[in-house]
Symmetry: C2
Subunit: 375 residues, 2 copies
């Protein structure tokens, strides 16, 4: 129950465990063609979704360095560890970064973006870079609204880290006018880590032509050129492609609406369960991620609780990152997670609190509250 690597279905593991095939062979081309269609479906886009062997960070870096040039001004949203990371990437490549901050646990304020974009009459801002679902805090940022403001600006691009939102909730790339959507395989995709994905709008591809940042492995031009021929510029992780095809088939069988409803239900159950036990949620009310629920148990060492749950029930929860270590634990409910998993996690947390003598309310209240949401 961590936010990645997420659980992988047996079907997907079996597909992955096949003997690799040549990446320049006809059967592999057919696989690339099929997964390309599946990825367009998942992204709700008509654009190619390019597949990089690498982590989600590689995909985000690719989005940034393929659309921008040295000295370009960007607005970077920062309300957690991943927001911080995109600020670092932008600075590493010599961009002129204006950080739009929010406290950890709070969402980014769309108004702050609107004001900065409207004030930019000289159209200096080249991109707005932000995280949709901030994994470190369990906070959802309002990507749809911020993207609307970016589109009103006219020239800036929206570069979105959708690593823990894609496949968990609605991220309609084309209809929201997103320019770069980056994601990673070990999240909503229900497969192991190792592949990452980046899709770019026509506007982003126009910006690519102007971009002067040095790149080779993450130069998306060759990825696009070879994608047209159902191929890749470098040897791809063939077995992870097997897993990708299999996982996306399962996702297509379930359907986007059902997948989103399931994640939404699990968020409701996790939140209700924690509240009923008397544990505070870390994300501001109404801004919790459908992928992950961060819990800040006052007066309780979150690491102690997390370790006790693992020792007692063999359920791995995620800890707090950086300054949240010991203060926060996180329940991942992303990807191949069913109602039983969420009920089990809530029950295990409740039972562990009981056994540690830390349960403060009525025993069973958490489980019951979660169960109500799962009805």
């Amino acid at each position: 129950m961590i936010p990645g690597p997420t659980p992988v279905p047996e079907t997907v593991l079996k597909a992955m465990g096949r003997h690799p095939i040549g990446h320049r062979s006809g059967p592999f081309q057919a696989l690339v063609r099929h997964t390309s269609e599946q990825l367009r479906w998942l992204h709700q886009t008509s654009q190619d979704v390019l597949v990089i062997t690498g982590s989600g960070t590689a995909a985000m870096e690719a989005g940034i360095i393929n659309t921008l040039s040295r000295g370009d001004k960007v607005l970077c949203g920062d309300n957690g560890k991943f927001g911080e990371r995109w600020v670092k990437v932008s600075k590493a490549f010599g961009l002129d970064v204006e950080v739009v901050k929010a406290e950890w646990g709070q969402p980014l304020d769309p108004e702050a973006f609107r004001k900065a974009l409207e004030a930019d009459v000289e159209k200096k801002i080249r991109a707005v870079i932000l995280t949709h679902s901030e994994t470190s805090t369990g906070v959802m940022n309002d990507l749809e609204t911020i993207s609307k403001y970016v589109n009103n600006h006219g020239t800036a691009l929206t570069i979105a880290d959708c690593v823990t939102s894609l496949g968990a909730c609605n991220v309609p790339m084309d209809s929201w006018g997103l320019d770069v959507v980056a994601s990673g395989s070990q999240k909503g995709y229900m497969m192991p880590p190792g592949l990452s994905f980046v899709a770019m709008s026509e506007r982003a591809w126009q910006a690519y032509e102007r971009s002067d940042l040095p790149k080779f492995y993450l130069d998306l031009g060759p990825y696009r050129k070879t994608a047209i021929k159902d191929s890749n510029p470098f040897t791809p992780a063939v077995n992870l492609y097997f897993a990708l095809e299999s996982a996306l088939e399962m996702m297509q069988a379930e359907g986007l609406e059902a997948i989103f409803a399931r994640h939404s239900r699990h968020r409701a159950a996790a939140q209700a369960g924690m509240k009923a036990i008397g544990l505070a949620l870390y994300a501001a009310e109404g801004h919790g991620s459908p992928a992950i629920t961060a819990v800040a148990p006052e007066g309780i060492d979150a690491e102690q609780l997390r370790k006790a749950v693992q020792a007692k029930f063999d359920i791995l929860l995620a800890g707090g990152q950086d300054h949240l270590k010991g203060k926060v634990f996180r329940i991942g409910h992303l990807g191949f997670v069913c109602d039983r998993d969420v009920l089990t996690a809530v029950s295990a947390i409740e039972a562990t609190l009981q056994s540690l003598g830390l349960h403060q309310g009525e025993i069973g209240a958490g489980m019951a509250a979660a169960a109500r949401e799962l009805n």
Copy 2:
């Protein structure tokens, strides 16, 4: 029988097919610790071997951009597709590239490097970048000798693409004084593609401190820092780590000397078999790679032959790349390949030539010549 992805043992596939575990968990740390030791053994080095989720190109790019700065002068060996690629990478990052060329099929001339390095009295040359085993032509370059000249120079670094040499022949990083050794998982490692490896000498790490090329995902500093804690800076391809541990265990059980002897034997058998059928080798005599034998059948369409072998015997040979397409086919004998595989490949090529009416010598001569080398 292609030079990657190479065949993967069932044991390795099974290890890979396990459920992924958390990459920040104790069990994964133990796995990283173990594979780090194994990788040092394979590289014959006391340095950390850093693991990148990415292709071999990512590892080579990392070696280049972590040790050099904009405008630095480098000598790039170019006698095939991969040599060409390192020239492109170097230019993409604004290095001042002097290309040391040899014809495709010929090895790089160590004397050319010696002269250029000795002439560099101002010590402007920062690095010599070259490919050890040139996969596109099946040619081995004399990395040991060239590295000696680089070390005599005193300040330049040797950055070596050992993608198809490591695990096929002796590449003792420390005793040869190599500064950067890059490799990829789908080659001698006997595992699927998706991981790449880069080891750097102390001199290379000193150069890292001065390097000003922009980087983030491929910035090796954080990889080194986290390697000390048996971890990774970004979510690694956990299941490929399972495969890595399993494959390296098999390699350790076989032993380096036995692995090298096996590859050397297979090179001898493939070469003898092809010669006995009357097919010319593409690599210059005495410079064939232990990983791959390129064959240039005069008067025969290499693609036609390659496709016929696949159709008739379900054995995939590699084609020629770029201008060699149709002129060359390549027999990969790298990684998890046994005597039977090589005998089978030679026999299948011979039998296919016979069925196409293209066999010019005594039927069976190729098989017999290969078999003699396998004795």
